[in-house]
């Protein structure tokens, strides 16, 4: 998630405002130096791992000859599927932007009562797996099945991907620009729409990218809602058609769509390097009084939270109560909790280890290949879990046999799946750091590696922790790769949940679903605090 701002937003301001905003707007020329090998080497290794699925897809897709590829691609059905998936992604992304930006603005800028609570609560939908929430909705109102149900579930599950970076960006803005605009006669609405939103545009776009890729790759929600999206057909090709070549061809189409979206995002976001000079934090802005809109605003947030969190949790509890007399196996739940926490922690650490070099490079250097390295980690993110899983089965069983169906390969799968979540936050938090600090450290006798360790990483620590938290909670909910690659005999909360639901034992499924939600809520609750933490101050201060 990038939280850098584009300089173009400042061009719209009158000159006095720019002078007063002063130090903030100066652009440092980064990137003329060559990146150090110590960063490039691990970054290349990490990016190479992230594109293993692409290599597998290319190999498999062409395994039956190019004519087969052509046949599959030029079918009417393939085009239909692309259109359907893009339509779903488009609608969900648009709605997520509306809800995410509105929620972030209300929390950051308006005088809501109990802002701290809202801030944390609005991020919590990330703790709820989409397959749980989809099932909760469709079993209550079966007519939701289809496009609208898929939209509903996916919007509620992924608006936090927009909400969180926009909130962090709003917190970081200097209110001086808005104050000057007001003094020039702009109404509050004009300020928000034409100024504030333009300043946080990069954050909005970066969040929208994650939402779009997530929708393209999601299977649980669309399958439960019986919406024929691309992922469903890919799954079908694997486990109903037993046609890996066809699945690979379809997967390649999905990769192509993802590449276009990823390239588009970089273009729309802009390549600004918006470094703040100086240790001063911006003054927090005065909250805007909502007046008679207050009730509507609170109602809006309540509806979002009720639909996204309260309803699925209530359903899960309801299932559990139905099976209350049979009780549940505490030892089994505990063992699953242990395995889940262990795997999630390992995945978070491994992803961070790869994301830090890539993120630092992307933040500080502007060479073309650095840009490609960073972007390549996003492409696999658009693929459904089963494609990543099968590609790692393929590679694992042939090249990495000793770790096949062992923890290291599973952790690698998680890294491939969730690396962009960490890279985004690392990149944006390093971008926030003034380059001057690192330069001064070098003048004091520190080599680039020591500067990274003593200055960059400690100051970017909240952003790094946020990246780790995102990977942690995404891993907790992950299902397809875990099913195929877990060590035989190891069960996570997600696989136990799946086992119970596959035999329609919802009462038994309840404890596992609830455990996932409760445990995932912990890193999720921390996320909003971490992303808005300021490196130079003791946490974020709500005025």
């Amino acid at each position: 998630m990038s939280i850098a701002a584009s300089p173009s937003s400042l061009e719209a301001l009158p000159a006095p405002a720019l002078r007063r905003a002063g130090a903030v707007a100066r652009r440092r020329r980064v990137g003329r130096r060559r990146p150090p090998l110590a960063l490039v080497a691990p970054a290349v290794v990490g990016a190479a791992a992230a594109v293993v699925p692409l290599w597998y897809l290319a190999d498999r897709a062409t395994s039956q000859g190019w004519s087969e590829v052509a046949d599959e691609l030029w079918q009417r059905r393939t085009l239909d599927l692309v259109v359907r998936s893009l339509a779903l992604a488009g609608v969900v992304t648009a709605l997520c932007v509306v809800i995410g930006v509105a929620a972030a603005w209300l929390v950051a800028r308006a005088d809501l009562p109990g802002r701290r609570v809202w801030q944390v609560a609005l991020a919590l939908p990330l703790a709820i797996p989409s397959y749980v929430s989809a099932f909760a909705w469709v079993s209550w109102k079966p007519w939701l099945a289809g496009f609208r149900g898929a939209v509903l579930v996916l919007v509620l599950a992924s608006y936090p991907y927009v909400y969180l970076p926009v909130l962090a960006a709003l917190r970081r803005l200097d209110p001086a620009h808005e104050e000057v605009a007001r003094s020039l006669g702009w109404t509050p609405r004009k300020v928000v729409l034409l100024l504030t939103l333009r300043q946080v545009r990069p954050a909005i776009v970066a969040g929208a990218l994650l939402v779009a890729l997530y929708v393209l790759s999601d299977f649980g929600a669309v399958a439960t809602m019986r919406f024929e999206a691309f992922t469903w057909v890919i799954y079908g090709a694997y486990r109903a058609g037993f046609n890996p070549a066809q699945a690979a061809i379809l997967g390649t189409v999905l990769v192509a769509v993802a590449v276009v979206i990823v390239a588009l995002e970089a273009h729309v976001r802009g390549s600004a390097s918006f470094t703040r000079l100086g240790a001063g934090a911006p003054r927090p802005s005065r909250p805007l009084p909502l007046g008679r809109w207050r009730v509507a605003a609170v109602a809006f947030l309540v509806v979002v939270l009720a639909a996204a969190i309260a309803f699925p949790v209530a359903q899960v509890v309801h299932w559990m109560r139905r099976g209350a007399d049979t009780g549940f196996d505490v030892a089994r739940v505990a063992s699953a909790v242990g395995a889940t926490l262990r795997l999630s922690a390992l995945a978070a650490l491994a992803a961070l280890a790869v994301a830090v070099p890539i993120g630092v490079l992307a933040a500080r250097f502007r060479q073309r290949y650095v840009h490609v390295l960073e972007r390549s980690t996003y492409v696999a993110h658009g693929l459904p879990g089963i494609v990543i899983a099968i590609s790692l089965v393929f590679v694992g069983v042939r090249l990495l046999r000793p770790i096949y169906q062992e923890t290291p390969l599973l952790v690698l799968a998680y890294v491939v799946l969730f690396l962009p979540l960490a890279v985004g936050t690392v990149r944006s938090s390093v971008e926030q750091l003034p380059v001057g600090l690192e330069e001064v450290a070098r003048s004091l006798g520190h080599s680039p590696a020591r500067v990274l360790a003593r200055v960059t990483v400690p100051l970017a620590a909240p952003g790094l922790a946020a990246g780790a938290a995102l990977v942690f909670l995404a891993t907790m909910k992950e299902l397809p790769a875990t099913l195929l690659l877990r060590p035989t005999g190891t069960e996570t909360l997600a696989t136990e949940l799946w086992k119970a639901t596959s035999i329609s034992d919802y009462a038994a499924a309840g404890p596992y679903a609830l455990a996932i939600i409760l445990l995932a809520a912990v890193p999720t609750a921390l996320l909003s605090g971490l992303l808005t933490a300021r490196a130079d101050g003791p946490g974020d201060a709500l005025p």
Partner: protein, 344 residues
């Protein structure tokens, strides 16, 4: 570092500590003189169902079985991707389609003749690469008051009196296997014709077979297309309050498809003797009795006592169909989607 950052770091460390105390079974293939040692089973049937039987097997033979559960189709795809290097020894699939696909890829080892010949020809692979272990019959479950004379052939379902009163589970594997069977028996055009007629009946869609059965019992709908054992499961759980009844299909009707859960031994296994011993056990008297008792499915080995609620297998006359041909599920799904019976 801020407080929040430290908290996350502590959490991660705590997670590692807590989970480090957890158990982590590592698969360990120690193949020694047959039949003993450890084998790995990839099972599309649930662990709760199969584990007790496997424990019994282990107690009797000393062979440990590592259980790896999953969706039959995904496990099949995994086996196809793993190829010769697969760590699996036995593949126990919920349906024949996956078995057929793995067999066609040449990944199974042929089972000994005396083993496969325990089950009738229709329920095993022609080349002895896999054998059925229990059978599931497609039936029409009906509410006796709302449907006192339910049809016993699928074309009867297209009659106007049943419009809006039939329930089914569109994503269920058994329903899709039935449609695949229909395509094999009547050809794609014939299948499409029937499906379009069925779709015109406004059938009510449910998530799962169990939900269909419950709806019939509650009188919400008159007829439901499910597998036979769902009714008996409900009766076993709830007793005499259940009113719904099973209507078995006429001889040779596509609606009476018998699908099988079955197993095969992987050629990549390095402990074949133990693997064969397991299949032997599953198709032996103890295994067959277990399935009959636990799941109300039809044990396929002749001579096993079936649950007394079930009509004898011999009385049913399922359509003549090579179950291996049920692996073209991809086209079935495309057809269903096209007709509007799969997705919305």
């Amino acid at each position: 570092m801020g407080r929040a950052t430290r908290t996350v770091g502590l959490l991660v460390a705590a997670a590692l500590v807590v989970a480090g105390c957890g158990d982590d079974d590592d698969g360990d293939d120690t193949g020694s003189a047959a039949p003993s040692g450890t084998i790995t089973i990839y099972s599309g049937r649930s662990e709760d169902l199969v584990k007790p039987l496997l424990d019994q097997f282990a107690a009797e033979t000393g062979i440990t079985v590592e259980f790896r559960g999953g969706d039959s189709g995904e496990l099949g795809a995994q086996l196809l991707t793993e190829g010769d290097a697969s760590p699996a020894d036995v593949f126990f699939s919920q349906d024949a389609g996956a078995l057929g696909a793995v067999s066609k890829a040449g990944l199974f080892e042929a089972l000994p003749a005396e083993l496969v010949e325990r089950v009738p020809e229709a329920y095993r692979a022609a080349d002895a690469t896999w054998m059925g272990l229990s059978g599931r019959v497609r039936v029409v479950v009906h509410h006796p008051e709302l449907a006192p004379a339910p049809p016993d052939h699928i074309d009867g379902l297209l009659a106007p009196e049943w419009k809006g009163k039939i329930g089914f589970a569109p994503t269920n594997a058994s329903w899709q296997a039935f449609v695949t069977g229909l395509r094999v028996l009547r050809g794609d055009d014939g299948a499409r014709a029937w499906l379009e007629g069925f779709a015109a009946q406004d059938p009510v869609a449910y998530e799962r077979n169990g939900a269909v059965r419950d709806a019939v019992d509650a009188g919400e709908i008159a007829l439901g297309l499910v597998n036979h054992y769902y009714l008996y499961e409900k009766i076993a759980a709830e007793g005499d309050g259940v009113v719904a009844e099973n209507q078995y299909m006429a001889a040779g009707d596509p609606g009476g498809l018998v699908n099988v859960a079955g197993a095969g031994v992987l050629a990549s296994s390095d402990n074949e003797a133990a693997a064969v011993a397991l299949v032997d056990y599953l198709s032996g008297p103890k295994g067959q009795a277990y399935f009959a008792e636990k799941t109300f499915e039809y044990p396929l080995v002749e001579g096993t006592v079936t649950a007394d609620v079930l009509p004898p297998l011999a009385d049913l006359d399922p359509p003549a169909l090579d179950l291996s041909d049920l692996d073209s599920l991809g086209e079935t799904q495309a057809l269903l989607a096209d007709v509007g019976l799969l997705t919305k």
